[in-house]
Amino acid sequence: MGAPSRHEASVAVRPAAVTARGWGWRHAGRAKPAVRGLDLEIRPGERVLLLGPSGAGKSTLLHALAGVLGDMDDDGGDAGESDETGSLLVDGAVPREQRGRAGLMQQDPETQVVLSRVGDDVAFGAENLAVPRDAIWARVHEALDDVGLSRLPRDHPTSALSGGQKQRLALAGILAMRPGLILLDEPTANLDPAGVLEVRDAVGRCVDKTGATLVVVEHRVSVWKDLVDRIVVLQPGSATEDAVLLDGPPDQVLADARTMLAAAGVWVPGYVPGTRARSGNPAAGSGGLLLAAENLAVSRERPRRSGFRKVPPVPVQHDISAQVRAGQALAITGPNGAGKSTFALTLAGLLEPVAGKVSATLDLSRGAGIDPYKWKAEQLIERIGTVFQEPEHQFVTGKVLDELLFGPRHLGHGEERVDELLERLRLTHLVDANPYTLSGGEKRRLSVATVLAAHPRVLVLDEPTFGQDANTWAELASFLSELLDSGTAVVSVTHDAEFTAALGGTELRMAAAEPVAP
């Protein structure tokens, strides 16, 4: 063992090479392969941005390179055998047999943290590689320093970190393993704009320092363009076509294939997809008042029980007032943790206000009473519809068609609208599919359609454009603009300035929540 030398603590890693020869992979229980006929060579130290439409097998490739493909599919299903063709090698050997050679970061920050204290979490990978104890702590300190988290004490609770910090912590955990290959699978898809830059910059610093090979999968090209030296565009492989559609330096690929990439839904820099324009003046206050919030204080927590006493929750935000009018868009913006979603959910009658009140006008309530929180679920859905950030949270059946018919059946009317919604949101070919098996964009469209099937007068959306490709984005914005013109009120919680601009209307900007003394 011996004491760790200073040299060991700061040595650059040996970058890894990737070689794919006719490689393909079919997940267990699936008819079609996720990747087919992939030929790709990545030289040691190269930095590659992987692009391509959903279903092109980008995540599958990353999982395979990390050596975690096969026994743990994301769907948890293990029906039948998975199937591998051709060869995929890291440094000339099978990835599975080289633990620690590659480090993988996934999308959901919550599942990138393993342990409950910052230092322990970073040490976890190094421990598994049987690094001697003293050397582990040297690596932990260096890694935390590299990702800009060195100010945190080693026993800082990981649950208290923001999304961006969690992803940087995960990066530190990867760096502490000293991998030659760093794999990032949409590392910033769940983050706000500040978090995105935080993570991107940390990745840049670390790759500069270690010289490791980097492979990133992301929709947002502008974020990563200057950090990578090569862009590879994948397409769903077929028997006749190559899995690699385009390959080259970023500027060249973007110049050659700008239009094609944009058409495939890739967010190419400087391109905002065209959306349907609002008719008339979207800012005009013509619409009648439907819903109003007065001096609202909001919190997700319910009153806490401490012994026999009931302690009201500390509001995350207070004194919010807003008005929702027919045919008008209201965008709720502000930094992460400001309580935007909490406010929107309270406005939508799903959370009880801590103080202040939400009142529906007679025009909206039509006899259901003034307070939306007190409405029955059937009364709520035909008045205020809420689309959650995670579509899966709202799936209540096992079939796309049943999912859409669910609201109308409960209400006893409106089934005739379903066909039109299916058509309009391009879901007709999926009516028999299980909602959980859809792609990200399809799930988003379905979740919007299911809520609209009940024909609510107010539509509330929580981060509707998060992680969406440019095509779904444009479809959604155009569709909402139609709804607005037809008199529906649209309230959206969003970080997306272009989306806000596309819908027009008013913006309610919420400041960062001040820590309130309990």
Partner: protein, 266 residues
Amino acid sequence: MRQELNLRGNQALLARANPLSKFAAVFLITAVLALSIDWVSASVALAFEFLLFPLAGLTLTLLWQRGWPLILAAAVGGWSTSILAPDSGRTLIDVGIWTMSEGSLELGIGFMLRGLAIALPAVLLMSCTDPTDLADALAQKARLPHRFVLGTLAAMRLVGLMAEEWQTIGMARRARGVGSRGNAVQRLKATLGQSFGLLVQAIRRASRLAVTMEARGFGGGRRTWARESTFSALDAWVLAGGVVMAGTAVVAAVSLGTWNMVWLGS
């Protein structure tokens, strides 16, 4: 809940002892108390336990916040024993079918004190033992398989998230028209549906976490430990303290003639 279980900043003496020695001491005490229903052994143990609270960084307020269900249960148990147990000695209260005599009151108090004396060490243990330290001790000292121990530890972190997820799914389903209000059958149906939704999300989260752990090299053969689980002189004191507490309780009860083996009856 999560906040209350967070031990960061607990600098108390017992927080520095090895979890295994604390477990052993608690086991000794509760084992002895389980043997006899009498008020002497229970109050001796209880008195010791109250003396230990500062050493575990616990105050009476914290104790009430964390342990009130246990404390209430002990009180209710004591009360019902004293009115329902067979009477002996002078009758103190007589309200129709409920009577309380000196004998039954003594049994009831013994029962309540014993309940408290057995429950409080668990609260004490929880409030000065970090789950991570416990896992380290179980894997390194008790030699339990590290795959199992660390897997459980990582999964426990997700339990806190599940509470938030439960609330979110509840709201998301209300927004779909699934009411969680109404009569008992409707509520039960809603709860079952919500549980299913939570289960789906839990499985997805768990499998993503498993991928994360595997990608960090977890599950292989030999591994090292960044935190060494050690025994120190403090642990000898903890064990000795456990022996003294258990021993004093027995000796006091036997010498005062109240020792009352559970299985021998009264």
